[in-house]
Chain length 454, copies 2
């Protein structure tokens, strides 16, 4: 292992330069105009994997392509086989004016590398690639076979990955899957995430008048769709932060005592969280702590509002329509299809007859829960401790990685979530960054992991 660890240490400068190249692709999967950037990014990644010594290819899908890269197999290999999953697509960078420097021109300030996609997820999947490079370039035998699956549609619901998994079930059959796309509480506090929240996404559009109307000539005699939307959304949550849609919390379990104890080890106080987010105060469902709000409680979140005139000055209209983009985070035991059904039914029931409602369904994913006492989880905890030099935290995370349940369903394997993102990494926000210590320690963790897992 010394050769591997020394190689990693000696090549950090080059690794960062290569990661910057990777980050320059504006691989925004939600925006059709970036389709060619996603393809270029996938092609770059394949070439890079080949240079490392992997067998790599671009796999076309009905959407953005998937990159598959594998260690060269011995004939009739009986080694264990692990899969590393990541994604090269990124969130939209908007609002651009809030970025200190352009999102696709990586910039290093101290220990931080700023760029869209740096922490979510290019930096994290690149750490695993660099660990394998260290094995291959130093001639150190790997105790396992490895397959990297790096997709381009994670930020839009991974809609073609499932078909891909099914079509390549035999090639991808593996013992455990490793994903670094979650967080760790602080640079010195590595973490194994044993649960994730699920999600449903949808868009509500209320249409009133056939066109924007003069608010003087017509205002007062017709429903204002922006008001109708506000009143509809307002009814969803009460002043205690409780979602009022009947059945929404059905099946949601409280945390066990063991889990409550784990939460207490999490090194971020409520005051620290408040400072981190910058809100005037924290607010969440009554009866639960902020850490529970973020990880083990479901939410109904408005991601965007659009109606009428939004430019400079004023425009005196009754807008023709108003729209809200919504995502609900779900927790274990909540079925996305069922929650979507009851939420949509409630919205339709509560929509006033003065407007027409259209609901467009977006992606959905189940929550995830895996035992932290299983053999692979214990191996991961050892690898984290060796790489970072401190005892790792066991945690639930509030984000969703829709494909993790699909891995279980199609490939039958559990996923180890070994996130390298920090709470202040601004994932999905302007000025996204990745900590270079997390990058380096993440490479070490990956190198140790293949030893510990076998």
């Amino acid at each position: 292992m010394k050769l591997v660890l020394d190689y990693l240490k000696q090549n950090q400068g080059r690794f960062v330069t290569e990661l910057c190249e990777y980050l320059r692709f504006a691989s925004v999967s939600a925006q059709p105009q970036h389709k060619k950037d996603l393809l270029a990014c996938a092609q770059w990644l394949v070439k890079h994997c080949q240079q490392i010594g992997l067998d790599a290819r671009v796999c076309e899908t009905d959407g953005h392509p998937i990159v598959v890269a594998k260690t060269k197999r011995e004939k009739n290999s009986t080694k264990p086989h692990f899969m590393v999953y990541g994604h090269y697509d990124v969130q939209p960078p908007e609002p651009l004016e809030l970025w200190t420097s352009p999102p696709f021109e990586p910039r290093i300030v101290g220990k931080n590398l700023f760029a869209r996609g740096s922490t979510d997820n290019k930096g994290q999947n690149f750490a695993h690639l660099k660990a394998v490079e260290a094995y291959l370039k130093t001639g150190t035998p790997l105790p396992c076979d490895l397959t990297f699956v790096i997709e381009g549609e994670e930020e839009v619901g991974s809609k073609n990955l499932s078909t891909f998994l099914k079509n390549n079930r035999k090639e991808l059959a593996c013992d455990t899957i490793v994903v670094s796309d979650t967080g760790m509480p602080a640079p010195k506090h590595p973490a194994l995430t044993y649960a994730l929240r699920g999600i449903i996404a949808f868009e509500i559009t209320l249409t009133g008048p056939a066109r924007d109307l003069h608010s003087g000539i017509f205002g007062g005699a017709v429903e204002n769709p922006a008001m109708a939307l506000s009143q509809l959304l307002a009814k969803v949550r009460d002043e205690k932060g409780v979602i009022k849609i009947p059945g929404f919390y059905q099946g949601v379990a409280a945390l066990s005592k063991y889990e409550q104890a784990q939460i207490k080890r999490y090194p971020l106080s409520d005051a620290g969280l408040k400072k981190l987010v910058g809100s005037p105060q924290l607010f969440g469902e009554q009866g639960f702590s902020p850490l529970e709000h973020r990880s083990s409680r479901p939410t109904f979140e408005i991601n965007g509002l659009t109606s009428g005139y939004q430019g400079e000055g004023s425009k005196t209209i009754v807008p023709s329509w108003a729209r809200a983009k919504i995502t609900c985070r779900l927790v274990p035991n909540q079925k996305p299809a069922h929650v979507r059904k009851i939420v949509c039914a409630w919205l339709k029931k509560n929509c006033p007859p003065t407007v027409r409602m259209k609901i467009s369904a977006g992606h959905g994913a189940e929550a995830y829960l895996v035992s932290p006492t299983s053999k692979p989880a214990q191996a991961a905890l050892r690898a984290l401790e060796k790489a970072f030099g401190t005892k790792p935290i066991l945690m639930r995370e509030g984000g969703s990685i829709p494909i993790v349940n699909e891995f279980k369903k199609v490939l039958g394997a559990d996923t180890l979530l070994l996130g390298l993102g920090l709470p202040d990494d601004n994932a999905h926000s302007p000025n996204e960054k990745f900590n270079l210590d997390c990058f380096a320690n993440g490479q070490r963790m990956s190198a140790f992991l293949w030893q510990e897992l076998t």
Copy 2:
């Protein structure tokens, strides 16, 4: 008068061509990038007035310039002096994708001339200019002195016109002011508007987290500003359409029996109105008719909503902020400053402590009410009947012409509102148009008016 009327008849084709020239200027006063278009439009207008035979000039202001054009005065003229007010600025044309043809490329279909500003207000003020041209070019003596004041900031609250009136009080002193910037119910139903609604405009911004947050990592533990805004706005109005801000209706008077009778002559049924606006049903304050809702009741209207991600697909964030653009229409006896004060105080009181509120004040104007039995009003009714050949309607209109109260205050003169716009003219909406019969009859009305008023 025959010479004048014949001249108008013979020159309609040229008048329409000239109006199209006027409409090609993108004189959008709310949008800073159009500043030069407003200046170019003012200069074109001055040149046109000079060609008609008027003394015309561009008057600089701190904002967009004002055009002043006067009939040449006899020395020590003792003729009555009337002022015609209009505006050459227009509403923003957005959303552009809803226009059938580009907003600043006038297009004639049948009797309709489509272009932004065609009915509001270029077409209407141009009708008055063409009437004067007919007098001057046929050598018919005008029984009065006339001054045209055509400003460039009506759509943004006429903020520099008041100073201009005060600075030119002597030059502008007049007996009556004539404004065609309101509506008439149908091409065969000309109207004198004896009341207008007032307005206050403002913008509410609620800020929660310091930046957009990942809705998985943080969602549930912080207030979502879009939800806070929805809940705040939702409280403003109850299910009966009543504004719940205490004191909002203070001083608002019910319509008199005379006014109720006038309303009944208005040639548009509720079913006709519903069809016109295209809403699934009409909706307004309980206990009042749609015509009252539109003309004699105050409103709280959301003109625009902005928050978070609005592009294609989804972005899983808790937005940092949410904004609503609001205008309230006011009726006689409601003082804009007072209503603004109680509305803002109520909003502040009802804003949750989980977000920070900022309210930006926009323009304001008092409602207007003038006696329909006064001498000038009676003269206007006669001119309308002669021009259109039918008995005119007396009506209140729901829009605001902020400057009308200022005319009363600074110049001491009442204003005759002789609107030429039709209900389906799409003022402030995509596909704004002006009816060419209204244009021609409006010229005739203006020509008769100077006779009837003197």
